[in-house]
């Protein structure tokens, strides 16, 4: 079964399952807000011969909407612009030569769907969920002009996340700081070119830490 064909189906099933848990009687409070953060992305998987990946920092920014399900349990949807960067180190071709470093930069529109479990009277929470990612740009830079390498990667991705957050009440708003780990589940590369050449399709997954601060403003009835 192709991973790409599985991603939308799994996403729909999970979103449906999460949606079914939201009932009007259970919905207690809703909030909307914005978030901004940094990620320390990593690529994990095959690399070309004599190369290695290194972690790089990127930006995460977006909106968040949250709705209460039951006491201390809420569903959060966080459409975001997610920039993931990784260094590509190339070993020197000759003895005494220098290592070449390139940079791979991916721009995603990500839609994390997260369930938050409030702890410590709502001052902290544990978040777990899934993220559906849509690739908007992929650039390889570092040797001359930048190269658009978007066609070498899948346009959609799918991942799972686990995070821990702290909530700071500030008047009507709530300021949040969250550290989360995101693991890409779907292969980032289609591998069609490699397979056509008779080689193994490469495997590549993103994973990394994200530190996100945000605010949530309550809306509707409380």
């Amino acid at each position: 079964m192709n991973t790409r064909s599985l991603v939308p189906r799994v996403s729909c099933a999970l979103l449906l399952a999460l949606g079914l848990t939201v009932t009007p009687s259970a919905a207690r409070a809703a909030a909307i807000g914005a978030q901004l953060g940094i990620n320390r992305a990593a690529l994990d998987g095959d690399t070309p011969l004599n190369t290695a990946y290194t972690d790089k920092a990127g930006v995460v920014t977006g909106l968040q909407g949250e709705i209460g399900l039951t006491d201390g349990l809420s569903l959060s949807v966080q459409p975001s612009f997610d920039q993931r960067k990784a260094g590509v180190l190339l070993a020197p071709a000759t003895r005494g030569g220098s290592t070449t470093e390139l940079e791979l930069s991916f721009d995603y529109v990500s839609v994390p769907v997260v369930v938050k479990f409030a702890k410590a009277a709502g001052r902290t929470y544990v978040a777990g969920g899934v993220t559906v990612d849509f690739l908007t740009a992929a650039t390889l830079s570092g040797q001359g002009s930048d190269r658009d390498v978007k066609s070498a990667f899948n346009s959609t991705g799918f991942g799972a996340l686990l995070g821990f957050g702290v909530v700071f009440p500030a008047g009507r708003t709530r300021l949040t700081t969250e550290l989360r780990f995101v693991q890409g589940i779907a292969n980032m590369t289609p591998g069609t070119a490699a397979e056509a050449a008779g080689a193994l399709a490469p495997r590549l997954h993103s994973n990394g830490w994200e530190l996100i601060v945000g605010d949530l403003l309550p809306v509707g009835r409380h």
Binding site: M1, D46, L49, D55, K119, Y125, V126, F181, I185, G191
Partner: protein, 324 residues
């Protein structure tokens, strides 16, 4: 192995950070006082289960676990080593296994918990023929997910689990490297790395047959990168069962024992898919109110070797588990 790619080192830095940061954060949210009336250890109908690492229990609890083990398979017959027409004279082979595992599960509600785990398994050919044929294999990775209670009766418990696993198998292939060099294969590689990311879902069932005896069943399915590198993705399944005996109700002594069996469709320590593998464990444990210290007698039966013949390995492990 025809490949345009070299396997990179997996996210070991990420793993190290995860093992440091995540338990610390999750420890902050564990709430032991929330279940003051309930035993911290998994119990039903007066029976306290003796959990094994092989067949995890079906209870939503907070705990931390660490285990360390060793196993060995001796007198394995390998065919003569022929490298570029030369036959090497070597004795029968033997394989040594070492395992290391840590796990932390944090209660989020009385019906759901989140868990993270990391494991490392190494296999080393400890005689000439096994070192040449099997080389050295190290399987390492991490896993995170959730465990939720689905149904509870007076004597039974049913839980569902979902998880994501990132694992890599690093293989030092001595024989393959020697053959490639002898045959002038360009870019001959001594070390190969097979990364896999898989998602899994499963059910765990516990039955307290009596105050002394309990049964735990496990069924899991997984999907993701195939361990066999030539395949892109694959499905897999795991089945497990354990029977445990707790001596406390009848004899008043804090000792228990458990026998567990697990059958897996996917290879755990090799990139060669050569059929199902199974493991057994006989656990003898001190069972305190909040902790369990166990000695395991391990048995491994698999075809995860270059000859695809069944190999028996036996060993022992030490495991500690603390419930919060």
């Amino acid at each position: 192995m025809p490949s345009s790619c070299q396997r990179s080192k997996p996210g070991r830095k990420t793993l190290r950070i995860a093992l440091t940061v995540v338990p610390a954060l999750l420890a902050l949210v564990a709430a032991p006082a929330a279940r003051a009336q309930e035993s911290p250890r998994p119990s039903l109908a007066g029976h306290t289960f003796v959990s094994t690492d092989l067949v995890p229990d079906a209870f939503v609890r907070s705990y931390a676990r660490a285990s360390l083990g060793y196993a060995e398979a001796e007198s394995i017959d390998y065919p003569p080593l022929v490298i570029h027409g030369d036959t090497l004279q070597v004795l029968n082979g033997s394989l040594s296994y070492a395992t290391l595992g840590i796990e932390y599960q944090a209660l989020l509600r009385n019906w759901i918990a989140t868990r993270i785990a990391a494991a490392l398994v190494s296999r080393l050919g400890t005689q000439g023929s096994s070192l040449a044929n099997e080389g050295v294999t190290v399987s390492s990775g991490y896993e995170f997910g959730f465990l939720a209670r689905l149904r509870r009766t007076a004597k039974t418990m049913l839980c569902g689990s979902i998880a994501v696993t990132n694992q890599s198998v690093t293989i030092v292939d001595v024989k393959g490297f020697a053959e490639d060099v002898a045959n002038d294969v360009p870019n001959a590689r001594l070390i190969d790395d097979v990364p896999t990311v898989r998602s899994s879902a499963g059910l765990r069932f516990a039955w307290a047959a009596s105050p002394s005896f309990g049964v735990t069943l496990l069924g899991e399915t997984s999907y993701g990168d195939a361990p066999r590198r030539r395949d892109l993705t694959s499905w897999g399944w795991d089945l497990g069962a354990s029977v445990d005996y707790d001596a406390a109700p009848t004899h008043g002594i804090p000792l228990g024992t458990a026998f567990g069996y697990r059958l897996a469709s996917l290879p755990g320590i090799t990139a060669t898919d050569t059929g199902n593998s199974s493991q057994t464990v006989l656990r003898i444990a001190y069972t305190g109110k909040r902790d369990m210290v166990a000695v395991d007698i391990l048995g491994v039966f698999n075809r995860q070797n270059t000859q695809a013949t069944a190999i028996w390995a036996g060993g022992s492990a030490f495991s500690m588990r603390i419930y919060f």
